[in-house]
Amino acid sequence: MTRYLAKLRYFPGDPLEEIREKDLKSFEREYGVNISYGKVENREMKGGLLMEKTLDKRIEDISQEVITLSADQEDNFANCIIALYKKYRCPRTAYSLMGSNDAGQRIAKKLMNLHGGW
């Protein structure tokens, strides 16, 4: 059985609306998938802007919100990805799926062009 796993990395300013764990829970129930949420926050207010030095840092260590989605059924997985993209738009960088497995990454990436919100 194929296991589909995607990590969607949203950096500050990327999601169109606030990512709330209760919304993710409702996606989890609706689509029969597993979702977990993680947040890294390293920004500091300086001169009126939330700032952070990200150059020469590991991607996993900079400020971001990570939605980790997994499922055994491709349809469930894909439909949930589409719903997430419609709500938040898709993550924006070339490295925003880092940590996904190959099967999950293939689907998440393909759907970016179709439903990514661009």
Binding site: F11, P12, G13, T54, L55, W118
Partner: protein, 284 residues
């Protein structure tokens, strides 16, 4: 007060140069000192896309051209007038070449310090849809705020002098720029357009066929057609996504660009193996 004109036309004494000089005469009438640079007289090499201006703290690897000198001139002036002809739907290639080289200035996007005006001579009505995108982008990257824009329909070399209204408008444009510097009033005085931020009339329909976006600013809204009239409604919260806001620009360079160095280094070995056949194929 110093007003600089940047000329994006190759033609000497062509319509762009004449309109820019007319604008500078207007600026002089308000007490400005003026200067004009023809961009094609300068060597402007292509951006190499190396990203080192970001990854190595503001050092551009292209050292053997005149871009730094152009940037210095822009830094020295108090206001600017950009002129470029439109030959094919957009501004001339030298403008795009300069835009690409502005990467090193990208960190300052949104930090407006000076006013600027734009003049675009073109030959055929309806063939200028992308001229504002380019001027908006170049000026924003250079830390300038567009206060007005003229598009002038004129064709053969120097024919614009036969159009007294165009010449008056150009003169006024120069005066307006000088006054904006003096009064520190960078309010936009041109045609309002569709996007309240960049004032362009372009909109892009997103793939959901529900949402539209200002392609320059990246701000989203909805199209409304009432009594045959088209308007665009931009939600207040959508302005948070305006790519020229200082925080949005900062986030772009901080989270979309800078961390790519880590990804690049991590994938070094894999890339080395997978790019081998391309290095050998059709080798030049």
């Amino acid at each position: 007060m110093k007003i600089l004109a940047l000329n994006g036309s190759f033609r000497k004494n062509g319509n762009t140069e004449i309109l820019l000089k007319q604008a500078l005469m207007g600026a002089e009438s308000e007490g400005a000192k003026v200067e004009i640079l023809r961009l094609t007289d300068y060597k402007i090499g292509p951006c190499r896309g190396c990203g080192l201006c970001l990854f190595r703290e503001n050092v551009c690897q292209v050292q053997d051209d005149d871009v730094r000198a152009i940037f210095s001139k822009v830094a020295e002036c108090d206001g600017m007038i950009l002129g470029a002809p439109c030959y094919f739907l957009e501004l001339t290639a030298v403008i795009k070449q300069l835009i690409d080289r502005c990467w090193i200035l990208g960190h300052q996007m949104g930090k407006v310090k000076k006013p600027a005006a734009v003049v675009v001579p073109y030959a055929t009505r309806g063939w200028i849809p992308y001229v504002s995108i380019q001027s908006n982008l170049l000026l924003t990257l250079m830390g300038l705020s567009k206060i007005d824009e003229l598009t002038i329909c004129t064709q053969g070399i120097s024919e614009v002098v036969l159009d007294p209204e165009a010449m008056d408008l150009a003169y006024h444009l120069g005066k307006e720029t000088a006054v904006a510097v003096r009064e520190k009033d960078f309010t936009y005085k041109g045609e309002v357009g569709i996007c309240p931020s960049c004032h362009d009339r372009l909109v892009r329909i997103l793939i959901d066929n529900e949402t539209i976006e200002c392609p320059t600013c990246g701000v989203r809204g909805n199209l409304i057609i009432r009594n045959g009239k088209i308007t665009v409604k931009f939600e207040e919260k959508a302005w948070a996504d305006n790519r020229f806001r200082p925080d949005v620009t900062y986030n772009h360079f901080t989270y979309h660009i800078a961390p790519s160095k880590d990804y690049f280094l991590r994938t070094k070995e894999e890339r080395k193996i997978k790019t081998q056949k391309y290095r050998e194929y059709l080798k030049t």
